[in-house]
Symmetry: C2
């Protein structure tokens, strides 16, 4: 396949560009369907007229449907898109990035999607899609999937699709309240993901700020304890990686902790833990649920994070992680490789 692309690059250089264009069009339509020409053209950054020609072509190929409400993907288009995903990763050199990252960081697997989520918000959803298909890949029987919060995880939940495989899967939030907005809380995302997957889910109703006494008594409540046990025995953990400062600010972090985080030069955050650039824990939010030790024993840990600005955070987290699966984007991946080359 590699040589096939190389030959085509020599023999038909601009056709690969056209292929990429059509691929992106299909991809966007799938993402935003039903959608109109103008909106889509604006989104893709191409003229409306050329989009129109392309759309007409794609329609003639039976790859997309076109109704009064807008354009949407046919099942043929869906199939083509599925196969294209793999090829385009190779064409765009994303596989190359994956190889490099695998060489340089201790990860079990890497998937890089095109784009930079710093610049194009929809790239998060592509990471979400990649994450979902990766999960399906390593799903066995009646798994317990623990998920965290964050906008990236929200995107993952949004892209979740129902599947027979999820019939006996249980979704749980990885940890209790971390001080986030309700839309970004693990509970919310867990529920959303389970609904989209047509699977089951349990939630963890523990308030954010508790006195020590209440805390100790509440975790002895049978209803709570049962969920906590499920969480500790989860087989898959899906979590985001945040920039330490951004996360601390977004959460209602007390000034005392804020200072601690800053002074210890934390750069990364994941499920309530803050790491410095060497991957050492410098602070943790006190809450129930899975702990860092527990994570190390989970067979399948998937970290999802993208955008060039998160490269440092990703590197720091990966350093201490136990060969997790990383799902990221082109922006972050390139930055990671660049940083590594300059060291």
């Amino acid at each position: 396949m590699r040589q096939w692309i190389d030959v085509q690059r020599k023999l038909l250089p601009d056709l690969l560009a056209i292929m990429q264009k059509r691929y992106e069009i299909l991809q966007h339509i799938r993402l935003m369907q039903p959608i109109g020409r103008r909106t889509l053209a604006l989104n893709l950054g191409i003229s409306e007229r050329v989009l129109r020609s392309e759309v007409q072509f794609l329609k003639e190929q039976n790859l997309l449907d076109i109704t009064a409400a807008g354009m949407s993907i046919t099942s043929d288009g869906h199939d083509v898109l599925m196969q294209l995903e793999d090829m385009m990763r190779e064409v765009l050199g994303l596989k190359e990035l994956e190889r490099k990252i695998k060489q340089r960081l201790p990860v079990a697997d890497v998937i890089v999607v095109a784009g930079d989520s710093d610049q194009s918000p929809w790239v998060k959803r592509e990471m979400g899609r990649a994450c979902v298909s990766r999960i399906k890949h390593s799903l066995t029987g009646n798994a317990i999937v623990a998920v965290t919060g964050g906008t990236t995880l929200a995107a993952v939940a949004e892209m979740m699709t129902p599947d027979m495989k999820y019939r006996d899967v249980l979704f749980v939030p990885a940890r209790g309240g971390l001080g986030e907005d309700v839309t970004n809380q693990a509970n919310t995302i867990c529920a959303r993901m389970a609904e989209k997957a047509m699977g089951h889910y349990r939630l963890l109703h523990v308030p954010d700020q508790l006195s020590a006494e209440t805390y100790h008594s509440i975790i002895e409540e049978p209803a709570i304890k049962e969920v906590l046990d499920l969480i500790k025995s989860s087989t898959i953990v899906i979590h985001g990686i945040g920039d330490a400062k951004t996360m601390a600010e977004r959460r209602k972090t007390p000034p005392k902790d804020m200072k601690k985080i800053e002074q210890n030069e934390a750069v990364a955050e994941a499920f309530g833990y803050y790491f410095n650039q060497h991957g050492e824990v410098v602070h943790k939010v006190n809450t129930v649920g899975i702990q860092l030790e527990d994570v190390r024993h989970v067979p399948c840990v998937i970290a999802v994070a993208g955008g060039a600005s998160k490269a440092k955070a990703i590197r720091a987290y990966i350093k201490q992680a136990n060969r997790c699966i990383l799902i990221t984007d082109e922006g972050a991946a390139k930055q990671l490789v660049r940083d590594d080359s300059s060291l």
Copy 2:
């Protein structure tokens, strides 16, 4: 690879056509270099202007050189062409033909090249090229290669290229005089092939028509006997397959034999043997050299024959052959498959 082609067919339907066009241009240039635009355009059956555009493009890609004497292939172009050969066989459905033939006829391997040598004479040279690369593939140490005569084998000799592998290879004519023109005789072709390959060769100087006495005494001559022994112990045999009637007419076949061949409904001819449609020998030319029994014990027998008109002959010969390697063209292959489907 199969799916890659299918997707591209959907997404860029004319891509494969363009690819094929450029492939053919490169192929022809390699075959006829150095060659001018007009001659080439005429040969390819396309307008001179479009050829000019294509050539300009290919030149910019550094795939061909262009001098006052005409156009020729660069080493880059050669590499691309090598890789393309395989891909185009897949694209043009030739691999499909190969699969079908392998299913239906008792052959060890089949290679089908594009075109029909009945209509385009240069297709024989393509078969020649395919044959040469196939030989190299199954060449071991100091092999002895026996070759027959015929226009197709002449094309094989013409396409032979020198290679380190041929250093210890010995070329010999498979059989003595069969009544052909000197240009199509096994001796001539054997010498030509060996020269092109930079290998060694021995010839068999035995006149066509001999009395029984002379015959028996000549084969006892040490010089002759040595060559005959080499022939009998050859490790590779390359031969053509002819239409029985055509071959009989081309050779100075005596009326008596002619009648015998016709009455027994011979359809195929190979190294002096005539076969009917069931693969049974109905006549043989009396001469020294390898015999049909000997051929059965040669580890690698390669039959080269193309053109739709030869399909019947190929089928008949293959029926009695002991899992040989067949090198043919699209015209013959399609006819073979068609005949087989209608049975």
